[in-house]
């Protein structure tokens, strides 16, 4: 009875649902308002819009922002920390940094208050020797005190626990035996990696999120149970893979970027099917512009990210670079008269001037409106009836035009140029600056506003083309359905390569991979195949930053094989090898991925024979007004070719094709924009 596979992405405003009917091969999308406070309600309503009988649902895959929001809004649970005597301030002291280079006005509030960070006698040395045995009575007493004072979760973290977790394991056992719920995080179970602050921060955020994310997932499961749902729920991780609900409850920190990761995965699948293995995804929202790089079908991962100043999460995540340039970014002239866009944003309330909600400072959206790129009578999102073009023009004229000596239209174009330049900078950062040739990449905009700027991005960065998916608004929900299942493990080794028992290490890594493959088997999800990936983080003796080297081997792993892999990776990264300097192996990493069956993107095939309802509208481009064709995007048939300037409208986005570019509809309903 597993007729449907359903992807659900809960965003700030809408819950998007993507249904795949495995019997007919048909797809359906639905949108319901997100329910703040308890996202599970909107979740169930959204699914109910497409499927009445929940027993027919096989798998639901969910990209959630519950964890992300709890971190950004600081609405996690009250958590406690039990730690080594002398070190309760590690979380608060960070790595002795500050929020901004210039100006010493920063502040930092750790997510766990100082009185809730308790010390116990214990100490492990860097080589794994136990210097002081764990005092379990003290552990129990502190755990009780934390629970009594109202902590809902607790994290146990000891210095050098990565080198020997014995003290930590005993303490965790003692805490678990008395803690009133399941919310006990062991730091090395989350991350057995050297660097105390990064490990503690990641583990603490796990504890901080656990009550919130667990109770959400439980409500979700309860709600599904009342509808007699008998299938499997999977949660998208920040690394773009999915995990079971049980894993998500134990390791909620892995959901920190769940929603955005699903979008990147979908983008990469859509693009791969369309013949574009190399893309840069561009998600433009109201306040920010998020870019990610997908090379040869693989999304770039990063080992660590900071959610906010001092809130470091160190688990593999899809690398998402964010800059403060969105539709709501405010344009202004600085004291020297130079035009700036952002980082300040008008957000959605009051929003851009054209919303008529009381804002007076012009934004990127106002500029797009004044230039005719957006339809004033059909605002996206449906909350407003129409946009006020005159007010937008007046604000741009007053704030920007007068200072620069430009007309309102020229000033609006200047705003877009500066905004585009910032976006181009973000794209350059993830592509050129990492050695990727931009001409080989296509931009894939999703989210509401990105498709207005693709033409400029193609030209500014020298990208080959842009590909706009058929439904940019539900990309993340689709991503849930196609995401692979993935598990990662890391272990600090910290030995000279010449001292390493390579064969034993190789066997240990294989055993870890076997263990994770068992986890995949237990999830009860069909896979098209399983992939293993082994890596070493290595460095020359004396360095502190590592280079990751991927490695494969048959039979016994050898020191020579590891050295060869390191030198190849080092050479690619820095150019010059340092012969004669000993090599140190810091960590090994194992990732096991269950590849999910591919979705046939032909389900998005465009219709034939509908009327795209053509009209014209003046748009201002390159210093003058031109008549642009305005077409209904979803009605365009396969093979349609639209030269710019043209505006394509659809309910969840507007696409602008610049003069000199052409848009072409492919057989999957994507719009490919290229130079003529």
């Amino acid at each position: 009875m597993s007729r449907y596979v359903i992807g659900v992405d809960v965003g700030g405003t809408f819950t998007d649902v993507f249904f795949l009917d495995q019997e007919t091969g048909e797809v359906l999308t639905a949108k319901s308002p997100s329910t703040r406070g308890d996202q599970s309600k909107g979740f169930l309503t959204g699914i109910g819009m497409g499927v009445e009988d929940f027993t027919q649902i096989g798998t639901i895959i969910h990209g959630t922002t519950v964890g992300t929001n709890a971190l950004l809004e600081r609405k996690g649970a009250r958590a406690g920390i039990i730690t080594t005597e002398g070190f309760r301030d590690v979380l608060e002291m960070r790595r002795r940094d500050r929020p901004t280079t210039w100006g010493l006005r920063g502040s930092f509030e750790p997510v766990v208050d100082r009185p809730d960070r308790r010390e116990v006698p214990e100490r492990v040395l860097a080589d794994g020797t136990i210097h002081t045995r764990i005092d379990l009575e003290a552990v129990t007493a502190e755990a009780k005190a934390l629970a009594d004072s109202g902590c809902e979760s607790v994290c146990v973290f000891f210095i050098n626990g990565y080198a020997n977790a014995e003290n930590e394991a005993k303490a965790v056992e003692a805490v678990r035996s008395i803690w009133p719920n399941d919310h006990v995080t062991a730091a090395t179970e989350i991350l057995p990696e050297i660097r105390e602050f990064e490990r503690l921060s990641t583990a603490t955020l796990n504890a901080y999120l656990q009550p919130v994310v667990s109770s959400y997932l439980e409500r979700l499961q309860d709600g599904l149970a009342t509808k007699s749902f008998g299938g499997q729920v999977l949660i998208v991780q920040s690394n773009g893979g999915v995990m079971t609900v049980d894993t998500a409850k134990a390791m909620p920190v892995r959901t920190a970027l769940s929603g955005p990761a699903a979008g990147v995965i979908a983008a990469s699948e859509i693009a791969k099917a369309a013949g574009f293995p190399n893309i840069i995804t561009c998600d433009m929202g109201g306040t920010s512009f998020d870019v990610s790089l997908v090379a040869e079908g693989e999304a770039a991962l990063t080992a660590q990210t900071a959610i906010d100043f001092g809130m470091v999460v160190r688990t593999p995540m899809i690398e998402i670079t964010t800059i403060g340039a969105g539709g709501g970014s405010i344009a202004w002239l600085d004291k020297s008269g130079l035009l700036q866009v952002g980082p300040e944003s008008a957000g959605s309330d009051p929003g851009p001037v054209c919303y008529g909600l009381g804002a007076t400072r012009p934004t990127v959206t106002d500029a797009n409106l004044v230039l005719g790129r957006i339809n004033a009578d059909r605002p996206i999102g449906g909350a407003l009836d129409r946009l006020d073009t005159d007010a937008a023009r007046a604000a741009i004229q007053r704030d920007i035009g007068e200072g620069l000596g430009l007309s309102a239209e020229d000033a609006a174009e200047a705003i877009l140029r500066v905004a585009n330049a910032k976006m181009a900078g973000a794209i350059r950062l993830v592509s050129i600056e990492r050695g990727h040739e931009p001409a080989r990449f296509a931009a894939m905009p999703f989210g509401g506003g990105g498709a207005l700027h693709t033409g400029a991005l193609i030209r500014d960065v020298g990208l080959g083309s842009a590909i706009v998916p058929r439904f940019p608004g539900v990309t993340s929900a689709l991503g849930c359905v196609v995401a692979d299942m993935r598990h990662d493990r890391v272990q600090t080794v910290n030995r000279l390569l010449t001292d390493l028992d390579a064969a034993a290490t190789g066997a240990e890594m294989t055993a870890k991979a076997d263990e994770m493959e068992t986890l995949l088997d237990e999830a009860g999800v069909p896979f098209a195949g399983i992939e293993r990936r082994f890596e070493f983080d290595m460095l020359y003796l004396g360095q502190t930053h590592t280079v990751s080297a991927m490695i494969e081997w048959n039979g016994d792993l050898t020191q020579d094989a590891i050295k060869t892999a390191f030198e190849a990776a080092y050479k690619t990264t820095y150019g010059r090898l340092l012969d004669g300097i000993p090599i140190r192996v810091m960590n090994y990493r194992v990732a096991v991925t269950g590849k999910r069956p591919a979705l046939d993107m032909a389900v998005f095939a465009p219709p034939t024979g509908e009327d795209p309802q053509e009209a014209t509208r003046p748009v201002y481009v390159n210093g003058g007004w031109q008549d642009a064709r305005v077409l209904q995007r979803l009605a365009l048939p396969e093979g349609a070719s639209i030269p710019g300037p043209a505006v394509l409208e659809q309910p969840d986005t507007t696409i602008f094709i610049d003069p000199g570019l052409t848009g072409r509809v492919d057989k999957f309903g994507n719009l490919i924009i290229e130079e003529v």
Binding site: F87, T101, Q543, T573
Partner: protein, 543 residues
């Protein structure tokens, strides 16, 4: 041709990216933690003729922003017009280039049509450059010769040819030649990368546009700075602060600033400061100017980081002053003096614009080195800088355990230190009662206690603020003073010169303990809210 302001905005981002990327390349590939973890390095793009800073990376050490201009100028003077494609100079002369001997600079031209178009430079703090004390913070130095090797600008690459002889000389003068070799390679990589990026942006936009853009960005910084100065009331204010001593003679040294605002011009007059001293807290004139630059950038943080910032500022520095030292006066402890200069600028600005003011930060780098030999005979040198509290400001309490205003350094993880050296931290904690009281409280300093696990070690500390605490502003109280102690057979001892000492011997099981200053307070303590005081008490920030 004339450059439109939109293209200028676009190019500004591109230039900054080039400098940032040079920074990132060196941070990731450097060998010593002072560069790799503490980011004690910097890269930028510099004027072809004057060497002035045109563009600076965002992640590099702030103090280098100002000082690198002098370094590039030193190379321009040395080369005297004799520059070829593929050349690259290396040097560490602090009297020409500013700062101290540990900072090695590499300077490389970008050439167009046989002429220098601009310079690229890389500076990084090397782990050991010889001298009497491992790590080169020698509080007992009376001449630069005791602080390390001094290399004037010499060619590391001559028309692309690598001068192995130069590297051999450098290596032979360091206790840690491998670290030196690794860092040097990282700096070469960073410059190579910057060079490629400059070549491609020049090819894309043309020489004229790029030249015009670089000049326009400098002019823009000057315009912004003039606008900021104009917003301050006209008049003269004065501020004084003190260094504990110079490490040789136990007498305080005065840093005095008379700051005059006259329309959109500013005069920074340091004439009333102490004369040059015997010990290593002297700084060269170039370092003094660079320190003022850092202080002004903290106050006016929207002004871009380039030479234009200093255009409307006039400096008056007495040639006999400890703020314009010449060879061979020792300058190894330059960090302490420039931190005090930033303190006096903050104090002066607080009198002119209380709402913009920040109280003094902890004000000492606390360069601590522990060195010895492992049981197997292997030599080790652990050298690190420690954090303290930031000053309170008009919008809130100071940051606890921040980095020094002159740097963006992060502290190495203690687990990395324990894995690399035979030591064990017995405490790594915030220091209660160290933040200066006020309507807004200064940030807390820290307590670091370290136990030796093997054999013997030789310990040296170069610190400050042991006698004179970080000042509050607008009526705020001072933060706690620096305090250092070390264990001996008969108990704990303190250095006679407060925070400066060399030659301390400890043996296995003995500890050293460093308690760093908190930041100064802002506004009067009696204005502080009851809720804030209660929260401080609950958190144990105050006892």
């Amino acid at each position: 041709m004339s450059l439109d302001s939109v293209t200028l905005a676009v190019l500004k981002g591109r230039f900054e990216q080039i400098a940032d990327e040079m920074d990132a390349t060196l941070f990731r590939s450097a060998f010593n933690p002072i560069i790799a973890e503490a980011h004690d390095a910097s890269h930028g793009i510099y004027d072809a003729e004057t060497g002035e800073t045109l563009v600076q990376g965002k992640s590099g050490l702030p103090i280098f922003v100002g000082v690198m201009a002098f370094g590039v100028k030193a190379v321009i003077d040395k080369a005297a017009g004799n520059v070829s494609e593929g050349d690259c100079w290396i040097f560490n002369d602090p009297y020409d280039g500013g700062t101290h001997l540990s900072d090695f600079r590499l300077v490389k031209p970008v050439m167009r049509d046989g002429k220098v178009f601009c310079w690229l430079a890389s500076v990084g703090h090397w782990h050991d450059v010889g001298g009497n004390v491992p790590g080169n913070y020698n509080p007992a130095a009376t001449e630069c010769f005791q602080e390390g090797m001094l290399i004037p600008p010499v060619k590391l690459f001559d028309r692309g040819e690598y001068k192995q002889d130069v590297v051999d000389i450098l290596s032979a003068n360091s206790r840690l030649p491998l670290s030196l070799y690794g860092d040097l390679n990282g700096q070469i990589n960073a410059l190579d990368l910057g060079f490629q990026r400059m070549e491609s942006i020049l090819a894309e936009y043309g020489d004229d546009v790029i030249h015009e853009a670089l000049m326009a960005l400098k002019a823009r910084a000057a315009t912004l700075m003039c606008a900021e100065i104009s917003d301050l009331p006209d008049g003269t204010v004065s501020a004084e602060d003190w260094l504990d001593n110079d490490g040789i003679k136990d007498e305080p040294l005065k840093i005095a600033l008379d700051l005059t605002i006259d329309g959109d011009r500013m005069v920074m007059d340091f004439s009333r400061s102490s004369p040059a001293c015997a010990g290593p807290v002297n700084i060269s004139r170039s370092t003094t100017i660079a320190a003022c630059y850092v202080a002004l950038k903290h106050v006016f943080n929207d002004v871009p980081a380039n030479a234009g910032v200093l255009e409307p500022v006039e400096f008056r520095i007495d040639p006999d002053s400890l703020l314009s030292a010449t060879a061979p006066k020792p300058v190894g402890g330059y960090t302490e003096t420039i931190l005090r200069m930033i303190d006096v600028v903050f104090q002066a600005v607080a009198q002119l614009a209380p709402e913009q003011a920040m109280a003094c930060a902890y004000g000492t780098i606390n360069a601590l080195s522990l060195a010895g030999h492992r049981a197997n005979g292997q030599r080790w040198v652990m050298f690190s800088f420690f954090g303290g509290g930031h000053g309170a400001h008009g919008a809130g309490d100071g940051l606890n355990h921040g980095n020094a205003p002159i740097s963006t350094a992060t502290i190495p993880p203690l687990e990395i230190l324990e894995a690399a050296y035979p030591v064990r931290f017995t405490q790594w904690a915030l220091r209660p009662d160290s933040g200066g009281d006020g309507e807004y409280r200064g940030g807390l300093g820290a307590v670091y206690e370290i136990e030796l696990l093997e054999q013997e070690a030789r310990v040296a500390l170069f610190g400050e603020r042991g006698r004179y605490a970080p000042q509050g502003v607008v009526g705020g109280d001072e933060g706690a003073k620096n305090h250092f102690a070390f264990e001996q057979d008969h108990g704990w001892e303190e250095p006679p010169m407060s925070s400066k000492m060399v030659g301390i011997q400890i043996t296995k099981g003995q500890r050293v303990r460093l308690e760093t200053p908190g930041g100064g307070g802002y506004g009067q303590a009696k204005q502080r809210s009851k809720a804030a005081i209660e929260a401080d008490r609950q958190k144990g920030y105050i006892s």
